[in-house]
Symmetry: C2
Subunit: 350 residues, 2 copies
């Protein structure tokens, strides 16, 4: 399915991240190493500032870099509808508009998630067969990675949304993790049939009906996520977002606890030094930098989101993931899979 001969254009919203546009431009510069030489990155934001930042990043006159002016910026407190009405010149909206018009194949942003989800849905429209997009994150397990979705686009997910998450997560795990038949689990509070809440019971029934469309292993619990037995974990946008941030918080706590206990004790320092490669390898495995991007799945165009606090490495990772998704023709495959799934569910209904 991958089309190696095509080249792609990615619109990079440089505004709205916590670390400022300079960090995004540095991330884009690094991302040039991962993409094909015929691909283009289009930096979107205040042109004058971006030119200076691009020069500083060694990108002046670079054949793969373009700059597109945007006079306005989406703030962290902005609401989607208000932005759509009164901030039409915001960099995020212009980048979305470029995808809509076919001037870009995908867009990337570190900005306000709520506005990105809302404005993305209005500008790019949900794919046929679904009505709400979902955010997918790549999370670490003991031996590799899995896809968790939804991590926050839709905090009121219905059972049907959960089933769509399972399908979209499957296609994303194929594209981003290279897994042929991703094992899909439905996150709940007890794996016996009939446990969980009403939403989960209903979603479980739908997922069973999908048969061989997905590799559904059944309901799973929180501790099943990290033992390497799952490739896609399906959750509603509320639980998924809380989980993502809990894992983040726990990781920070552990680093803090280790540092505090090492303190100034020379024996502990010796131990810490000899353990350093191990700890570093674990940190590398757990840190979201490499897989910093969360695509907003279920829209007719590809939207990549990275955390507002992303550094250049996380931004590079997100752009690389976006390019990967494009070369797998992920959006079209997802659309086809959703249509097939909806047909099965309609036929199964009595």
């Amino acid at each position: 399915m991958a089309d190696a001969t095509r080249s792609y254009r990615i619109a990079v919203d440089c505004m709205g991240g916590d670390k400022g546009p300079g960090e995004v431009v540095m991330g884009a510069a690094k991302a040039l190493r991962d993409i094909a030489s015929s691909d283009r990155l289009i930096l979107v934001g205040k042109e004058k500032g971006l030119r200076a930042l691009a020069q500083r990043a060694g990108l002046a006159g670079h054949p793969q870099i373009e700059i597109r002016n945007a006079d306005d910026v989406v703030g962290m407190e902005d609401k989607p509808m208000q932005v759509l009405k009164s901030k039409r010149e915001a960099s995020m909206l212009i980048a979305l508009e470029m995808v809509k018009k076919g001037e870009a194949d995908a867009m990337f942003s570190t900005g306000n998630t709520k506005v990105l989800v809302g404005a993305g849905t209005v500008k790019l429209r949900p794919m046929e067969g679904t009505d709400r997009p979902a955010l997918a994150a790549i999370m670490p397990h003991a031996f590799g990675h899995f896809v968790l979705m939804d991590v926050g686009a839709n905090p009121e997910s219905t059972p049907t949304h959960l089933a769509h998450n399972a399908i979209m997560g499957t296609i994303y795990a194929q594209a981003a993790l290279g897994i042929a038949k991703p094992r899909v689990g439905l996150l709940t509070v007890g794996t016996e049939e009939g446990k969980g809440n009403e939403r989960i019971k209903h979603a479980h029934a739908i997922l069973k009906k999908l048969g061989s469309e997905i590799n559904y292993v059944g309901p799973v619990e929180g501790f099943d996520m990290f033992d390497g037995s799952l490739d896609v974990v399906v959750a509603d946008g509320f639980t998924g977002n809380v989980l993502l941030k809990t894992v983040e918080g726990m990781f920070t706590m552990l680093i803090r606890m280790i540092k505090k206990r090492i303190g100034w004790n020379p024996v502990s320092w010796l131990g810490a030094l000899t353990m350093f490669p191990i700890m570093n390898s674990i940190k590398h495995h757990l840190r979201p930098d490499r897989n910093g991007g969360a695509p907003l799945l279920g829209l007719s165009g590809l939207v990549m989101k990275a955390h507002g606090s992303s550094n250049r490495h996380a931004i590079r990772g997100a752009i690389r993931l976006g390019r990967e998704a494009l070369s797998h023709d992920m959006t079209a495959r997802m659309g086809a899979a959703l249509v097939r799934a909806n047909e099965i569910l309609e036929t199964a209904d009595d």
Copy 2:
């Protein structure tokens, strides 16, 4: 409020744990070190077996140990209503009945959570002012511990249930963690007003109305839980249970990753040895053993639940926590706080 002169009787359901009644009896034997010499533990289960196990644990003829026969056992697949109808001689039901009749001040069980919640609610009835109990767990943060609730009793919590969780969590944090004015956060997906789902928005409005009844700091996110800024984190029973198990799963994954990477490399072994006290101290802080019990709050009697896989140390911890709650007169204080809160909310309603 604590009544040092009173002595207490705790009914210990010895059946239904994953490790068998022997482990529970060993836990009870260890718990004798924590309770007052006038307190009693009543072991509930198959009398003959328990007598043999008690003898092996050095408890034969111990003045603080009694045995109460129960011919039946609640299984992991049993459903609450079915148990209430056809397993009246189950140890869990008999222990609950003892609390109901005043023959015990509290009961402890490692058995089937769903049956304990269901049968506990029917036997002991919810306190005045609430209609559903909630499970509270003690979780580690970087510098100490906090109360997370509900961790699974009520997967369909309403906004009012969340407000009751905040009140009961406050009283529990006072009794179990010794914190005078516990800081309460409402777990959600974004801390700005208007974020989260409808349930959270409504719960936030109720919690603000409670004024000085609780020390409510506002909506919080997953990563806020571990930095030591909160003493009580309020969640619905679905999210709370998923969280509890995620933290458990992540912890197991980390241990596994460290062990795998240490492998047979002698330098890493040296590092691991010198780091051992640090890792052990962290493990000790994070492991739920010491605080293994989760009380089922909101019933008119005290019910302590421990994980089915609990070892003797976790069981000892849960019994100790139960005794602590009794000497703080926790159940009565909780009932009074709920009544006060409901009065405030009724007056506040237009």
